[in-house]
Each structure stands twice: as C-alpha cells, then as structure tokens.
C-alpha cells in the first residue's frame, strides 16, 4: 500500500507539476492568473481525440497538432482579451474566469456531456518491483510528463527565449530597460502557458478522459501547486506538484478517501499561514 501510494503520488505529482508550470510561467511573466487554464487542458484533450479518434491520425501526430493548435488559440486569446487589460489584475481575473465558463459550455454543445478519450498508446499493466500492478498508460504518461518538464527547463536554460523569460520574471522593469520587448514576450509566454496545459491534456486524456467540466479541478490543483511552490518559481511549482501528489495519495491510503482533495487545501492554508511566499518563493519583491 505504501509503495503504491508513493508511486502513484509521484505519477500524479508529475502530472500536477506539468499542468502547474503553465500557470506559473504566465504568473511570473505577466502577473496574470489564467482561470481558463484547465479549459485549455481539456481543449487539447478534445483536439487529440478529434485528430486521433475521429480523423484517424497517428496519436503522436495528433498530440503535436493539438498542442500547436492550443498554442495558437492561446496567442489569439492573449491578443484579444488579456492584452487590453494589462496592468489591471482585476479585469484579467474576471475575463479569464468568464472565458472558462464560456469554454465549458462550448465544449458541452460541441462534444456533449459524455467523456471523450483519445486512444491509448500502450495497453495492459506492469508489475512494478513485484509489489503491485500499475497501468502501462500511466507509466507512459509519467515518462512523457517528465520528458516535457525536462524539455521546458532545458529551454529555459539554453535558449534565447528562455533567458528572456528568466530575466523578465526576476525583474520586469530591469528587463524592459534592457530592451526586452515585453509585449511580444507576454504573447509568447501566454501561448506557451496554454501549450503546457495542452501538453498535460494530451498526455493525460488517455488516462483520464475529458469532459466539459473536468477542467475546473485541474486548474484548481495547478493553482494550489503554484502558490505552494511560490508564485512564479518554476522549480517550486514542480516541487509543489510532487508534494501535492504524495500528500493526496498518502492521505487517501491512510486517512480518508472521501477527503482526499481536502488535504491539498489544508497544506495550502498551512503554507499561507507559515510561509506565505511559498516553499520556494522569493520572500519579497
């Protein structure tokens, strides 16, 4: 039981981290919380279903296409909705919240209330260390999730775009003084944030099929990860994801299955009380 809950905690944690990275990126660069983050995740799941299942494309091609499509949609959303509100946190919160409801009801109209599931990449289950059976698709999701996270960090470290992101999330004014075009950076990072949500969506939808309203818990967990890890801190948010995954699964295994999701909020409240800047956040601006 312990081994299973730790393994499952890590798998779920990596997935949480992947979802939360997009939120963290957008918060760090634009100081905007995207309440529709979960809906972009779901959107990617639907795209992937549409491309792979309905149009019969190869699952990998379908996944890449879905991420690209969501990236473009993210850029359009930034351009039309977020940009005009820039500097007014209040309106970006309200706009993305309304956007999330609009997207949910659109999903319901287009795809109906039933869950939609892109095809599995692999079948069956593996006996892990001779201790327990574990779904192969989940193991595949773990590997894919970890790979995307690694790729993202490599991009942060190695590319020009990554350096701009790190500079801007450290000190916006300095970055502007140094001639970084923050407008274009905002647009790209918002698109990137959505693309990260999409990556999580396409990786996870074969495990957890998407429904119109399934994005809400996804986004909530991502927000908790981000606050837990410290707003804008990328490593913090990965750590936050892992902590959440473990806490939830250990809690479900040894305390209560019905209150599984309350544990994460309890941790959140504790962190806010004791260390408001998050586990890995910088303590002041």
């Amino acid at each position: 039981m312990l081994a299973l809950s730790i393994t499952n905690g890590l798998v779920i944690g990596i997935i949480y981290a992947l979802t939360a990275l997009g939120v963290s990126l957008v918060v760090g660069i634009m100081n905007v919380i995207n309440f529709a983050h979960g809906e972009f995740y779901i959107l990617a799941g639907y795209f992937s279903y549409l491309f792979a299942h309905t149009m019969g494309l190869d699952p990998v091609v379908a996944m890449v296409l879905s991420i690209a499509a969501v990236f473009l949609i993210g850029i359009v959303v930034e351009y039309t909705l977020i940009r005009p509100t820039y500097g007014d946190d209040l309106y970006s919160l309200i706009l993305t919240f309304i956007l999330s409801i609009v997207m949910q009801s659109t999903f319901l109209l287009v795809f109906g209330p039933f869950p939609n599931k892109p095809p599995n990449w692999v079948k069956g289950a593996t006996n892990v260390f001779g201790l327990f059976l574990y779904g192969n698709q989940r193991l595949a999701a773990l590997i894919a999730g970890a790979a995307v996270i690694a790729l993202f960090f490599a991009m942060l470290k190695l590319t020009w775009f990554g350096r701009m992101i790190r500079a801007t999330s450290q000190d916006r004014e300095m970055a502007e003084l140094n001639g970084i075009n923050t407008r274009r950076l905002n647009m790209l990072s918002f698109g990137m944030g959505c693309a990260l949500a999409a990556a999580a969506g396409v990786i996870l939808s074969p495990v957890f099929p998407v429904t119109p309203s399934a994005g809400v818990p996804v986004a909530l967990t991502a927000f908790v990860c981000v606050v837990l890890g410290g707003m804008g801190s990328m490593w913090g948010c990965v750590a936050g994801g892992l902590v959440l995954g473990l806490v939830e699964n250990l809690g479900a295994a040894f305390v209560s299955t019905g209150y599984k999701h309350v544990f994460m909020y309890l941790i959140l409240i504790l962190v806010l009380l004791i260390r408001p800047s998050g586990l890995f956040g910088r303590s002041e601006t």
Partner: protein
C-alpha cells in the same frame, strides 16, 4: 442643486412604492422571478462592494452565501432554532469566515484572495458532500420557511427589505470616510498606503462586510426555497453573480441592481434554449468586460455625458453614483 436632490428623492420614493406594489398585480410565477431577482440584487451588490469598490475579486461569494444558508438551515432543521435567529447566526458565521479568510490572505494581495476563495468554495463543497448526514449532500437539506404560512407575497417583502438593507449598507459605506479609502485602495494601493490608508484593514473590512451580506442573502434564500443544496455555494452561482455585476456595471451603485434584474428576467425567457443560455450569458459578459468595463451603467453614462457636453453648459458637475 438642492431642488434637484429633493426631486430625485421623491422620484426614488415613488419608484420604490410602485415597485413594492407591483407583485399585487402579478401571478405566482412572476412573483417568484421578482423574489429571485431580489436575492441576486443582494448578492451582486455585496460582491460589487468588494470587486467594484476595493478592486479584489472573490470567487467565494456564492460559498459565503452557502455558509449562511447551511448554518441557518442546519440550526432550523436539526436544532429547531427559529429561522430568523438562524438567519442572524448565518450572517454572523459568514462574517467570521470572511474575516478569517481575509486576514489569512489579504496581506498577500489580490490574486491570493481570488485563489484562496476558490479553494475555500471547493473545500466547502467537499465537506457538504461528505458530511451528508448533517447537510444531506446533493440531496439537499429541507428547511422550514421563515413564516408559518407559505406566501410568495410575504417573501417578496422580506427579500425587498433584505435588498434595501444590503443596498443601504453598501451606500453608507461608500459614502462614508471609508468609501474614500475603498476607492483609494482600488485606484492605487501603494499611493493609498503612503497617505496613511491601512490597506490590509480596509480590505479585510470590505471582505468581511461583503461576506456577511452574502451570508444573509444565502440564509434568506435557503428559507425561501425550503431546500438548501450545494447549488447555492456553486461556481455556477458565482459566475451568475459576477456576470450580473459586470454587465450591470462594476463599481457603480445601481449597476448590480440593473444586472440582477436584467439577467434574471432574461434567463427566464431564454431558459427554453437550455444549454445555449449559459453560453449566451458568458459571451455577453465577456464582451462587456472587454469592451465596456463599466457595464450598462457606463454605457448610459457616456451617452449622457456626451449629450451634456454638446449642450450649452460647458461645466461638468461631479456625478454622484
């Protein structure tokens, strides 16, 4: 100026009397719509106090209504407490929770409030579902009415009183010294702090009052529906309240009133289109928030101002909301 003031006052009084007499000429169905609209007036006006006047977005306003409703409902249904006492207790409990959530996250700034209230509303949902022996979960808690005899007309007046009380509290607050502080914090919190405004205190106060008003609205609503369900503290409900305020006009006194009546009555008509109606609301709210962030009131006002500027008098007296 004074003449106009008194004239306005008379007009307001006459309008109120006319409104108060309206349900006598309406059937049961339309009386119901009026009552629900008045509930939303309470919700939207109190949410507006927070979002429109101090610039913080709470996504837990419906949750606080839920706290009020469940507290009052459980007291009445399980302990036999008089529903009116229950309403008072529900209001108080919502205020206490508002205060605690406020001091937990308001010193950290606006985004934290939005996230924490969202989490708060989620926790509340899980608790309501899990503690079904007390709350009856999604089945809903059957509660007694406020009066021994069920009468739509009586409920209309109770809700009218509740709405007037809410609007009165909001009006008093924004027209007091505190109102100045509220607006200063919304405009520029750093400048406000440099002028001696205790930003955290102002926010916690606004959040506490706003939560208490939501608690009262929720408690009254529960005793009107006679059934308290997790629908009261749901995100859908939150969305509706937010849309009403945004479409009516955030940061204006009458905006939420217009929004609440407008959307509730509209939703009765487009109900037939079922699934399209949430989408339609969402799109309208999105368009308004994007292109007319001051809502319907803002649109009317800019038309009004343009007309005045075209008129002979160039001076522009301050518009009081």
């Amino acid at each position: 100026m004074d003449m106009r003031m008194t004239k306005n006052r008379w007009l307001l009084a006459a309008g109120l009397v006319a409104f108060a007499l309206l349900p006598w000429g309406l059937g049961v169905y339309h009386q119901h719509i009026m009552i629900v609209s008045l509930f939303y007036v309470m919700m939207a006006a109190s949410w507006n106090l927070l979002a429109g006047y101090t610039g913080q977005v709470s996504f837990g306003h419906a949750a606080f209504a839920g706290i009020g409703a469940y507290a009052s409902g459980i007291l009445a249904a399980k302990a036999g407490v008089n529903p009116w006492v229950g309403v008072a207790a529900g209001t108080l409990l919502a205020a206490i929770f508002g205060f605690l959530v406020g001091i937990l996250c308001l010193k950290l700034g606006g985004i934290y409030l939005s996230l924490t209230t969202l989490g708060f509303s989620e926790i509340l949902h899980i608790i309501i579902n899990n503690e079904y022996e007390i709350t009856r979960g999604t089945m809903g808690l059957q509660v007694p009415g406020l009066l021994s005899e069920y009468s739509k007309l009586a409920y209309f007046y109770i809700f009218l009183a509740g709405a007037l009380l809410t609007l009165g509290v909001v009006y008093r607050l924004i027209h007091s010294d505190l109102g100045l502080n509220f607006r200063a914090v919304q405009n520029d919190e750093r400048a406000a702090a440099s002028l001696g405004v205790d930003v955290v205190k102002v926010r916690v106060l606004a959040f506490t009052v706003s939560s208490a008003l939501a608690g009262m609205a929720g408690a009254l609503y529960g005793h009107y529906l006679l059934l308290i369900t997790p629908q009261i503290p749901s995100l859908d409900q939150q969305f509706l309240v937010l849309s009403m305020t945004v479409i009516g006009g955030m940061g204006s006194f009458v905006g939420p009133v217009i929004g609440a009546f407008g959307l509730e009555i509209l939703s009765e008509y487009i109900r037939a289109y079922g699934e399209y109606h949430v989408l339609a609301f969402g799109l309208v709210a999105l368009a308004v928030a994007r292109f007319a962030p001051r809502g319907m009131v803002g649109i009317f006002r800019s038309v009004w101002e343009r007309r005045r500027q075209a008129a002979v008098h160039p001076s522009l007296p301050a518009e009081s909301p």
